[in-house]
């Protein structure tokens, strides 16, 4: 069973060797001439203002993250259901429809309250 994953491990090793090897070779043969400007944060040519810890971003991203979690879990429920749908029959379809509708109502409410407006 697990032997199926052996070639994937092999691919992982090859891909890692390729990626890490490129970085190593580049750091060996590449020039090295650091100066304070190169090592500073890029802020369109201005003096770097402040620590990035003060940078704020919109709360909408948290909303997207939470919705993502809900829908990703929904997708996770959908896959096993999809595989055994033929055995479950109409009973399975009705159940899944109810499940999707429950989430759908909340989703429509979320959109209606403007939770996904970006302004």
């Amino acid at each position: 069973m697990l032997s199926e994953y052996l070639p994937i491990l092999l691919l992982f090793v090859i891909a890692s060797a390729f990626a890490v090897g490129s970085l190593v070779v580049s750091s060996l043969v590449g020039p090295r001439a650091p100066n304070p400007t190169k090592l500073a944060a890029y802020e369109s040519g201005n003096e770097p203002l402040a620590d990035v810890k003060g940078t704020r971003f919109s709360v909408k991203f948290y909303m997207v993250a939470m919705l993502f979690l809900i829908f990703d879990i929904e997708a996770v429920f959908l896959y096993p259901w999809a595989v055994v749908l033929r055995e479950l029959g109409w009973f399975g379809l009705v159940n899944m429809t109810v499940f999707v509708l429950v989430l759908g109502v909340a989703f429509v409410y979320e959109i209606g309250r403007g939770g996904l407006e970006w302004d």
Binding site: S22, A33, D72, A82, W118
Partner: protein, 410 residues
């Protein structure tokens, strides 16, 4: 395993080299095609038609300085591009390039591993790619990369759901998560006799959602919001240079290739195609050819999109993903499930065709009523009352009155 050890090594190397080569060709082809679309010539010096340009550029990248800026969070800063590239390579593990090949007395399929959870593997590796983007943005400790990283990861997770739900209809239709089952299910059509049974036809809405989603997932124009130069400089990889930047570029182009390979496998029959009754000794080449041709078609589609379309606006991107693609994909999963169950009960083909058409119309109607035009319009309108302009002679008027006034004025 009863096979000698060289077989898995050979399989893996073939797939790895194949996708690396296609990526190199893609980078060259993109520069040539976009150049043609802009009335330029493009790279034409190195090799025939400049085809070796990618190789030379890659070699050049080794000799570039790769400074590590002082403020970055170093182990994470270096690991982030590696995560992207390795996840990109791993996601092709379950994609078959062709059917069984017999070499030196061993018969094996041209796929790294035909897992029983193949579809989940593809989606999982796509999710890991988000880590690369977000960690790069976060570990740079610099304003532009942080904003770009957050934006891109929000975009990628949103479209990942749309894609995942579109793939769920494929799983419903095929009844299996194994990629070889999905390809076998597309061999012959159950709807129209003698046609290839590509899932793109019965699952057309899901196919559309997947194609739009894959462009957004790969961060390609018109959805390359990560690299909106005017707003975010380079997005999450602003602080990167040298080979570590090269890794991000490689991961982006790899993503185009893998996404094309995935859509061909899930919706367009993968290596299925006519073999013209050729003897087995030659016939094994044809599936590889069909797969490559279909994949190149999608790669070309990506390039044309880049040459033809301007960048989307971020709020519209999120609207499209959440309010159009996800509902369509979700509805279509249930509609597909209904069809599958009807087919199980042996309802005739014509009836299913009619039902398919009716359901398609239903989704279209949904699209028109709650569709992109209205949603985009809704997000354009300011929700709060606009700040009144300090013009004393103008009463606070609605937009219609203002428009009338403009029409009257010469």
């Amino acid at each position: 395993m009863d096979q000698p050890l060289w077989v898995p090594i050979f399989q893996t190397l073939v797939v790895f080299v194949y996708f690396l080569l296609v990526t190199a060709v893609l980078i060259w082809a993109e520069r040539r095609v976009v150049a043609r679309m802009q009335h330029r010539v493009g790279p034409n010096r190195v090799g025939p038609f400049g085809a070796l340009q990618t190789l030379v550029d890659g070699a050049k990248m080794f000799f570039k300085e790769d400074p590590t800026p002082g403020m970055v969070n170093n182990p994470v800063y270096t690991i982030a591009p590696l995560v992207g590239v390795i996840a990109g390579f791993l996601s092709i593990a379950v994609i078959p390039l062709g059917f069984d090949v017999t070499l030196f007395g061993e018969t094996f399929p041209l796929v790294v591993a035909d897992l029983n959870v193949g579809v989940l593997w593809i989606l999982a590796m796509g999710s890991i790619h988000v880590y690369s983007v977000f960690l790069a943005g976060w570990s740079s400790n610099s304003p532009y990369p942080l904003l770009g990283g957050i934006r891109s990861s929000a975009q990628m997770v949103s479209y990942e759901i749309a894609q995942g739900l579109a793939v769920a209809s494929v799983v419903v239709y095929a009844g299996s998560l194994r990629i070889s089952d999905i390809i076998a299910g597309q061999q012959t059509s159950t709807l129209i006799e003698g046609m290839p049974g590509w899932y793109a036809i019965p699952l057309f809405p899901a196919f559309l959602v997947f194609v739009i989603g894959m462009v957004a997932e790969a961060g390609r124009p018109p959805f390359d919001l990560a690299e909106a130069e005017g707003e975010l400089v380079g997005g999450f990889h602003t602080e990167y240079s040298g080979m570590r930047f090269g890794m991000f570029m490689l991961a982006e182009f790899m993503n185009v290739v893998t996404m094309s390979a995935i859509v061909v496998t899930l919706f367009l029959g993968g290596p299925n195609g006519p073999t013209f009754g050729l003897p087995d000794a030659i016939a094994w080449v044809l599936p590889i050819l069909w797969f490559s041709l279909k994949m190149i078609g999608f790669i070309f589609f990506f390039i044309l999109l880049r040459g033809a379309l301007p960048r989307y606006r971020y709020d519209r991107l999120m609207s499209l993903g959440w309010k159009v693609l996800i509902p369509i994909a979700l509805v279509w999963v249930l509609v597909t499930a209904g069809f599958v169950l009807l087919a199980e009960e042996g309802i005739a083909t014509t009836v299913r065709l009619v039902l398919a058409g009716a359901a398609g119309l239903l989704v279209l109607a949904l699209l028109v009523t709650a569709g992109p035009a209205r949603l985009a319009g809704a997000s354009d309108r300011p929700k709060r009352a606009p700040i009144p302009t300090p013009a004393p002679d103008r009463a606070p008027a609605s937009r219609h009155v203002e428009r009338d006034r403009e029409e009257v004025a010469p």
